[in-house]
Amino acid sequence: MNDPEAFVSGLKLLGAGLAMISAIGAGFGVGLAAFGGVQAMGRNPDAAPIIQTNMILGMAFAEAIAIYALAVALIIIFAA
């Protein structure tokens, strides 16, 4: 506590770590997409290629949320 600079840089790392909590939501989203996709493919194996493409697309969009969190975390550590 006697060194304010070290205190602030420590808090930055803490903030970056907290920002990555949003990975919970993204992980949930990716899992949900895989769940739906695999179930649909099990029911209708003929449509597997189309479902797979859309599943990966949905996963990529869900993952984007985690990527924004990563961007925020990197900005907190390196730029702020």
């Binding site: 189309i50 493409t53 697309l57 996963m59 990529a60 984007a64 990527i67 924004y68 990563l70 390196f78």
Partner: protein
Amino acid sequence: MSEEQTKKGFNWRKWVIYFCILAGIYSAFLGPSILKPISPVVVLPAEPTGLSIGGFEITNTMLATLLADLILLTIAVFVVGKFMRSGSLVPGGFYNAFEALVEFLWNTVEGAAGKWAFRIFPVPATIFLLIFVANLVKLVPGFESIGRIKEVHHGYGYAPVLLTKVGNLSIYTIDKAQKREHVAKEGEHGEGHVDQEKLCEACEIVPFLRGSATDLNFPFALAFIAVLMTQVYGVWALGIGYFEKFIPIRQLIKGGAMGAINFIVGILELILEFAKILSFGFRLFGNIFAGTLLLSIVGALTAVLVPVGLYFFEVFFGIIQAYVFYLLATIFISGATVSHHAEEAH
């Protein structure tokens, strides 16, 4: 006779693999304990390699990208070109694998874009091949561990240990057991050449080659190209009316209240276009950088068994990330060639 030969070749390959595993175990655990896994320096910006062209410094990630380019050109000239010149119609060997890959890419584009597929195909496929090769070539051993040895600027470094001498080139490694703190020397700002002469006290390794996607510039350049080409194809397909997707002035004038809402939605789409660059770039960068970090940390903890599994995981992820980048680029570009209002009219 020929069966004997193939059998012999197979055995030879098997023994090479056994030898590699034994050599790895020896150098990691039983040997002089010097070749402990060297975790690469985890830094965000690419480090300069010391080479430069006309004052333009070449970083190690740039060298890695050039290497990937070189591999692609070699494949194009010596594999595909040779097959084309040979005039044979039956594909075989490496060319067959390459053709299967391109065919797979083509099927995806054709499924998404329909009659525009032929014009769209080159852009995402080029991006895919570059990311694919760059992600796989980054996993070759020595890629992030062989480099110049350098004094650390702050924090901790490790003591250098002489390995061998080839001619008048000394090869050093760093000893993880001897941790040394960086000593700040006052009044010594203009080092540079002095560093080359005397050895560092607390050292780190600046690799010659580092995975291209671990540098933010590489994925962002590709993301920028992908989003820019989306606009280009949109204008190509729909003319200047393509931009009405972003600024729907006609709807604002004619549409009344709904027109005003559509106007704001259009502006949101304009913002979304910039968000695409961000998510494209950070997705590739984040995955590959996290993979490098994971390998370096786990490689420093356990030496022999676990990193093999993680290496396989990284190969898989390199391919998947290239595919995701390619798929999103394809879908965005083919979406831009379809008129927005034609769908609404139905």
